[in-house]
Point group: C2
Chain length 168, copies 2
C-alpha cells in the first residue's frame, strides 16, 4: 500500500511540528488535489470538440433543464459570474450552438436556448465524457465509489448550508 501525496505532506508537517492536528488538511487537501487532477484529465473528450469544461457546463445546464434560460439563471446554475456567462455565451453563439431571443414583455431579459446543433453536440458528447470519466475512476471498486459519493453528498449538504451556496 503506497502513500498519496497528502499523506507525505502531513508526515512532513508532523516531523517539523509534532502534535499539530492535521485532520482538516488530510480531508481538504485530498479533495483539492483530487479535483485538480480530475480537472486536468477529465476534459479530454470536450477539448476534442473545441469546448472547455465551463462552456460544456453551460450547454449541459440548458440541455438538462430542457428549456430556455436567461443569462442570470445560467450564472446561478453554473456557479459563475454574470460576466463570465456573457463572454461564454458570445463564443457559443458564434459557434452556432446556442441562440438567443429577447423577452416580449421585459426587454432587459434574454432567453438563451440550444440550437439543434448544440443539442446534438451535447447528446453526442455527454456519453463520451461519462465513459471517459468512468475509465479514469476504474481503479476504484464499486463499493468505494458509492461510499465516496454518499459521504461527499453529506459533506456537500453541510457546506451548502453553511456557506450559502444556495440555489434559487
Amino acid at each position: 500500500m503506497t502513500d498519496d501525496i497528502v499523506a507525505s505532506v502531513v508526515r512532513q508537517w508532523q516531523a517539523v511540528n509534532p502534535g499539530l492536528d492535521t485532520g482538516p488538511m488530510e480531508l481538504i487537501g485530498r479533495i483539492n488535489r483530487c479535483a485538480a487532477l480530475l480537472q486536468q484529465a477529465e476534459d479530454a473528450p470536450l477539448r476534442a470538440a473545441g469546448l472547455n469544461r465551463a462552456e460544456f457546463d453551460l450547454l449541459g445546464a440548458m440541455r438538462r433543464t430542457d428549456r430556455e434560460l436567461t443569462p442570470g439563471e445560467l450564472a446561478r446554475e453554473t456557479f459563475s459570474s454574470g460576466a463570465a456567462v456573457t463572454k461564454r455565451l458570445r463564443a457559443l453563439q458564434e459557434s452556432g450552438l446556442i441562440g438567443r431571443r429577447s423577452d416580449a414583455r421585459d426587454r432587459r431579459v434574454a432567453h438563451v436556448g440550444l440550437t439543434e446543433a448544440g443539442r446534438d453536440l451535447v447528446d453526442r458528447l455527454l456519453p463520451e465524457q461519462l465513459a471517459y470519466e468512468r475509465s479514469v475512476l476504474s481503479g476504484l471498486d464499486e463499493e468505494t465509489r458509492s461510499g465516496l459519493s454518499g459521504q461527499l453528498g453529506e459533506l456537500l449538504v453541510q457546506l451548502e448550508g453553511r456557506l450559502g451556496g444556495g440555489r434559487r
Copy 2:
C-alpha cells in the same frame, strides 16, 4: 434528509435522458463542487494576513521541508508552473517573507528560504487556518471524516498513478 446540488442535477439528467449512467458525475461532480465551496471559504484567515492560498502553499512548502528550495522544486511541490512561482516569489520577497541566495557552484539555480518573519507568519497562521477548517468541517462526524479521508486517499493514489501526478 435533503438533497445536495449534484443529486438534483442528476435527477434532471435522468428525467431528460433516462438510462444514462450518471455514476461518474455523482462522484466527480461532488468532488469538484466541494473543492469550489471549500476554496471559496477556506482562505478567510489567510486573507486577513494579506496572502492568498497559492502564496501560503509556497510558504508552507518551505516551512514543512525545513530547508531552502529552488524555484523549480517549489513549482513541483505546489503543482504549479514555474512562471507562477516566479511571480509569487517576487511578491513574497517584497513582503519580506522570503529571501533568496544564489548557488555557489551552479549560477543558474537560486535557493529560496523563509526569513524569520516568514517563518513566524506560517507558525502563527497555520494553526488558525486549521482551526478554521475544522469549524467548516464540523458538520461531519468523526467517522465520516476519517472514512472520507481514507477513501479519497485511495482515489488519489489511483489518480496519481494514472495521470502522472508524480513527485520528484
